[in-house]
Amino acid sequence: MRNKWKLLLALLAIFSLVAAACGDDDDDTSTGDDSGETETDEGGEEEGAEDEAPEEEGDMEEEGDMEEEDSEGESEGDMEEEATGEGLGEGFNVGLTFDLLGRGDQSFNDSAAAGIDRAKEDFGVNVSEITPVDASARGTDLQLQAENADLVIGVGFSFAADAATVAAENPDVKFAIIDDSMMDFDAGEPIAPNAAGLVFSEEQGSYLVGVAAALKTTTNKVGFIGGMAGIGLIEKFEAGFEAGAKSINPDIEIVSQYITEFPDFAGFEAPDRAKEIASAMYEEGADIIYAAAGLSGSGMFQAAAETTEATGTKVWGIGVDSDQYLTVDPAVQEYVLTSMLKRVDNAVYLVTEAVANGTFVAGETRYDLASGGVGYSTSGGFIDDITDQIDAAADDIISGAVEVPTTPGG
């Protein structure tokens, strides 16, 4: 009798282990299923497209030829300006590899997902998505994608090193990495002839929200929370924010704090720590804080809500990457003054379009204010009274009258 119970419990334990393992897998395959579904959905369209198929196939073959020409081109060393041949047209395969957390992070990854969803509709591409389960498997994930895809997109600078290796091993596949230029700066040429780096002028967007903060503050003290110090990426946000705030009021006080230092990436997903930092800043008199810290930012909005309730004076937070007014919990929506927009969705969409049209360019592609790569949001209507001044600042940046620094303390 006793043994039977033990057996039952053992089975239960085994089952729960299996179920848990499936939980993870399930999730990955469900995204896989998505692409599977789109494949069948698109199947109809593709069949329709197959009426014009001869040409298309011809294109494909030509594309193969072009690749060879590319490698010849590479030896000439002027790949950077040269588009890599004719496009793949519609219905090619895209492998989208998310950063940790993947779809549903309400920020960076969701923005990339929005871009690929748009591309899926417009170019009928087949998308397979991977969300890495841990940081060590990035190279494997990219290689896995490269086996089937014509274009592999890596969301996040952490893919850069692995992408360089995998790109060299898969010369027929195009790679696009977000937030890394994929340039060999010593040689002044792309790291690989088939790898593009999509980078943003975050400092320009941050400048604009800095302007907004300086115009809206009543205490002449604003704060900045960075996710992780030490690699110069988040410092660009701080530099722009600082420059923007000081352009309105040179005497404004800016307190700044980073949650972690490289290589501790926990700072991007530690809302509890961001909340503590933000409360300290609000207590010391800052009334607007800009958080460039990924998921951690939601902790800042929470702190804003609690401080406002406790003291009766309204304090604000400024969001980052996506329009956080739309993504935060409704309870803290009224504390989102504005958000610095980093249009990862546009970058993903445009690079897919480039591959479709054959205008893919290796090396750095910069998305700045002028090209609509960065900007600010107005959802909530809290800054409607000052949009004129912010837009004026934006015009100054676009015209080149104002140059935004990329390192803080300028």
């Binding site: 848990a20 509890d272 909340k275 998921l295």
Partner: protein, 417 residues
């Protein structure tokens, strides 16, 4: 020397009180060396942050105590905490904060039960089972999260638990009646040291979350339950000499199950405190290794509740202070505190004629002191590494004094020996 002997004869609570007063004195003195007019090291915000960030570590450590006192090594604390973060948030969203606390504990207890079945029922190696739970728990919560919240990484905002401020001493309400804030008024006098003590203690008594109150209450409760009750005696027998206990008719298997399940429940509570109190929502990976730090606190605290409390506060303090340290001065001052602490260790080793320890601690202390003098701000990574450094130091200098339960980690088979 006589003073030290007198200190050793004192009851434990008085000894710890004296350590705390010495600690605040050191902080007050160090603080006066720092430029800047804000007294951040002994401020009520500092002690409040310390307490707040120690709570998950303390609860996890206490959880580990119940399991290891019953002879089962619980490296799965981290996984049980992760279960607690999800179940706590889910319960709070569905049925309110109180339910969140209970369901969070239940979630952790499920993890404990699995660990108990594996290690006690089947005699699986404790480490292997614990690691399996640490791998399984995040998978399970990710799956549950995507099924229930429709978002695999994050839950909506969770309603918070209430706060408590001690009446009379820190100005809390009694049934809506305002009471004086005695400590606050002493703190405002700005008397050297006395005001620092008042302000620091005020931070420990005001705006405490329900989790903090529960965690602090669990320290004496655990000390009483494990050392002063029949249940506790049998629990400890299971961890010290299970076969001797068995020969006296103690149901060792049952005690081990109880210990590990309580352990899981407390780890679940620790997880719930993170998702419900510190972050206000569930998020994938938000325990950030605090289960392991709780395990370190258990070792540092010599498998005793008051030791775990001291360790948790010691780990929470630099962490909380550095987060609130906007100009880098407090973290910098902590370098001097560490240097002084190491110097004290060197002196202590000297009295015991442990020459190599004196040299080791002395040179570390000197290094820290030089670092303090040569720099204006300390790096941000320093406070994050402090728990590990402190544990390493304790293991180096006091390992002989640590004593784990004799049968901890050994597989027990009924009727064996």
């Amino acid at each position: 020397m006589k003073a030290l002997e007198a200190l050793n004869r004192m009851p434990a609570w008085a000894r710890y009180m004296i350590y705390a007063l010495i600690g605040i004195l050191v902080l007050t003195v160090v603080e006066s060396f720092e430029s800047g007019d804000v007294s951040r090291l002994t401020a009520d915000t500092a002690s409040r942050a310390m307490l707040k960030w120690s709570v998950p570590i303390l609860l996890a450590g206490l959880g580990g105590l119940y399991s290891e006192r019953a002879g089962v090594v619980n490296i799965g604390l981290e996984g049980m905490m992760i279960l607690g973060t999800w179940f706590g948030a889910w319960g709070a969203l569905e049925w309110g904060p109180t339910a969140g606390i209970i369901i969070g504990m239940a979630g952790g207890a499920i993890g404990g039960l699995i660990h108990a079945i594996a290690t006690v029922g089947f005699g699986v190696d404790h480490i292997i089972s614990g690691v399996a739970i640490n791998i399984m728990a995040p998978g399970a919560t990710t799956f549950l999260s995507s099924e229930v919240f429709g978002n695999r990484t994050q839950s909506p905002n969770v309603p918070g638990v209430g706060q408590f401020t001690m009446p009379v001493l820190a100005g809390g309400d009694i049934f809506g009646l305002e009471t004086p804030d005695i400590l606050g008024s002493i703190a405002d006098q700005e008397i050297f040291y006395l005001s620092d003590i008042a302000n620091f203690s005020r931070g420990l008594m005001s705006e405490m979350s329900l989790f903090t109150v529960m965690a602090l209450a669990l320290v004496p409760i655990t000390a009483w339950a494990v050392w002063r009750t029949r249940f506790g005696l049998r629990l400890r027998i299971a961890g010290e000499a299970p076969y001797a206990g068995e020969s006296l008719g103690v149901d060792i298997i049952k005690r081990k199950y109880q210990g590990v399940i309580i352990s899981g429940a407390l780890a679940g509570l620790a997880g719930a405190s993170i998702s419900m109190e510190l972050a206000d929502f569930y998020q994938e990976g938000q325990t950030q290794g605090r289960g392991f730090i709780g395990l370190a606190a258990l070792i540092f605290g010599n498998w005793k509740p008051q030791g775990i409390l001291a360790a948790a506060l010691l780990f929470g303090y630099p962490f909380g202070v550095s987060l609130r340290d906007l100009d880098g001065s407090s973290t910098h001052a902590l370098l001097l505190v560490v240097a002084l602490g190491l110097a004290a260790v060197a002196v202590w080793a000297w009295t015991r004629n442990a020459k190599s320890d004196v040299i080791l601690a002395g040179s570390f202390s000197l290094g820290m002191f030089v670092w303090y003098l040569l720099s204006d701000t300390a790096p941000d990574w320093l406070p994050n590494t402090m728990p590990y450094v402190i544990v390493l130091l304790v293991l180096v200098f006091a390992a002989q004094r640590l004593r784990m339960p004799a049968a901890d980690g050994l597989v027990y088979r009924k009727g064996g020996s």
